[in-house]
């Protein structure tokens, strides 16, 4: 199966939930659409959604909730097709 890496375009702190009281954007193994958010990156007190970028199954997160990420760092893997 082709693997698509979801990349954070900006550095900051990665969150899997829209806010602490909500469920995660996507569970491991969940189906995603290309424009669907898989996480949130907080940079300098502003929040930016990271979209899956490809339709398929989100098989793996490469970073944990609240982990620090760099710009261009892969944060998750989507299996397409």
């Amino acid at each position: 199966m082709p693997r698509h890496e979801v990349v954070s375009p900006i550095p900051g702190v990665f969150y899997r939930r829209p806010d602490p009281d909500s469920p995660p954007f996507v569970e491991d193994g969940g189906a995603v659409a290309a424009d669907q958010a898989v996480g949130l990156v907080e940079v300098m007190k502003s929040f930016h959604q990271v979209a899956a970028g490809a339709e398929g199954t989100l098989v793996e997160f490469l970073v944990g909730d609240e982990d620090e990420v760099d710009a261009g760092q892969p944060v998750a893997v989507v299996e397409t097709g």
Partner: protein, 451 residues
């Protein structure tokens, strides 16, 4: 007070360390992992690492800060602005640990932090609040009657709403009759509660605030600041004193602010924020900030009083050192908040590595910053890079000098908002101080369309 722990980072931590040193007080910095080499960390007499880079794991962790204070032998804590500065629980914990909190009592922070309680205190002190219904109105007839008292235009707000959602502005009784039922139904759907209340809508509003100092028994003001130029509720440019305020309005606003401080026995520096109706000359209490503010240097430049030093003296138990008549506003000061953001890309925050850094200086120019050549702008905190504060004998001179100072400002490595301010200085409406709280966002939107 012998040893002060500064529970903050960035330019305000640097600012506080300098004030403490001027008074002969030793300083302790706390820092996250990302700030191990930051200016405030290196400038203080001692430094303690309190956790990983994200603020939620370092600068916002009360226990880590109290442990750092204990380990370093600090006897006082200055919270700066943001982070823990307006958390009553933090002030109480600092006092509970036997340390001096540089700020008002926890109970005062708590009262002023509660919008409803703060408005009640303001009313008790005779400070005008925005006219409106105290609670919900039962139906359209009650709304119409209330609107007559409040005065049009009125804002129709969902009691259960928030963040600007569920708000309608209506100009007259007909519009209110039409809007009420629909707004109430929408609120019921969106928030599960259709209760509506009414508030006066100020069409041409300025944001003006009064700087105050109190020692617990006496209080005074240090004139006012104009802070209307905001983007997404973030101030970008501030001035002291406010150019759009008449002498009579200034007297009424500063008197009200001192009365408010006396009402709560305010101790430390604080700011009382008002909405000024430019069409009627009325002013209304918005809230009180129980901490030092970002824009405090403008007040310092026109009054010659070091506000952070006064905070430290008051916290150490000294009474106010000035009489109200000693406070004289001299000339005019303007502050520009230069942020590591890209104005060409919707103000996208821009962390990164700095190269060459050239900061403005020279006669009557002050630059409060933490930025250094070859430093790093971390992604974890706010984007404020530097405050460029300029004084002039009058507003005209301050505007001219602003142009010079901003032209000198240059950092390599990250985009900043400095260039945007140079454009702002070209605008006739800015030069004429003809602006309101909505002006800057409208200008940015128009500017975006024309480029």
């Amino acid at each position: 007070m012998k040893r002060l722990l500064v529970a903050n980072r960035g330019e305000i931590a640097v600012r506080i360390i300098r004030a403490a040193r001027d008074l002969g007080i030793a300083t302790v910095a706390v820092h996250s992992k990302a700030d191990a080499d930051a200016l405030h960390t290196r400038l203080a007499d001692a430094a303690v690492e309190i956790g990983p880079s994200p603020a939620s794991k370092s600068y916002l962790v009360v226990d880590a800060i109290l442990a750092a204070a204990k380990d370093s032998g600090a006897d006082a804590v200055h919270p700066g602005y943001g982070f823990l500065s307006e958390r009553a629980g933090f002030a109480a914990a600092v006092a509970g640990a036997g340390l001096t909190f540089v700020g008002p009592d926890a109970s005062v922070i708590e009262k002023m932090g509660d919008k409803v309680a703060a408005r009640e205190i303001a009313r008790a002190a005779g400070v005008p609040t925005v006219p409106g219904t105290p609670g919900g109105v039962a139906g359209v007839d009650e709304a119409l009657a209330a609107a007559e008292d409040v005065g049009y235009p009125v804002m129709l707000k969902a009691a259960a709403g928030g963040g600007g959602r569920g708000i309608r502005v209506v100009d007259d009784a007909d519009a209110l009759r039409t809007a009420f039922g629909q707004a109430s139904q929408e609120a019921a759907k969106a928030f599960g509660d259709g209760t509506m209340y009414l508030e006066r809508f100020v069409t041409h509003a300025r944001h003006v605030e009064v700087q105050v100092l109190g020692d617990g028994s006496d209080a005074m003001h240090l004139l006012d600041r104009e802070c209307s130029l905001q983007r997404r509720r973030q101030k970008m440019v501030e001035e002291a004193v406010a150019p759009g305020v008449s002498g009579d309005l200034r007297t009424r606003m500063t008197d009200a602010s001192v009365a408010l401080c006396r009402e709560v026995g305010y101790r430390s520096a604080g700011t009382v924020e008002y909405l000024v109706d430019d069409d009627t000359g009325e002013f209304f209490f918005i809230e009180m900030n129980t901490r030092i503010q970002v824009e405090h240097p403008t007040t310092e430049l026109v009054t010659g009083i070091d506000l952070v030093a006064e905070q430290l003296r008051i916290a150490a138990g000294e009474p106010l050192r000035f009489a109200q008549d000693d406070v004289v506003g001299r000339g005019h000061a303007i502050e520009f908040r230069v942020c590591a953001e890209d104005p060409a890309n919707n103000f996208m925050p821009a962390p990164g590595d700095l190269g060459r850094v050239t900061l403005p200086a020279g006669p009557w120019v002050r630059c409060d910053t933490w930025a250094e050549p070859d430093g790093k702008v971390p992604p974890f905190y706010d984007s404020l890079l530097a405050k460029v504060i300029v004084w002039g004998a009058d507003r005209e001179e301050a505007l001219r000098r602003s142009r010079r100072a901003l032209a000198e400002f240059s950092v390599a490595g990250v985009p900043t908002t400095a260039g945007l301010f140079t454009e702002l200085l070209d605008e006739e409406w800015f030069r004429a101080a003809d602006f309101h709280t909505a002006t800057l966002e409208r200008w940015l939107a128009d500017r975006g369309e024309s480029t």
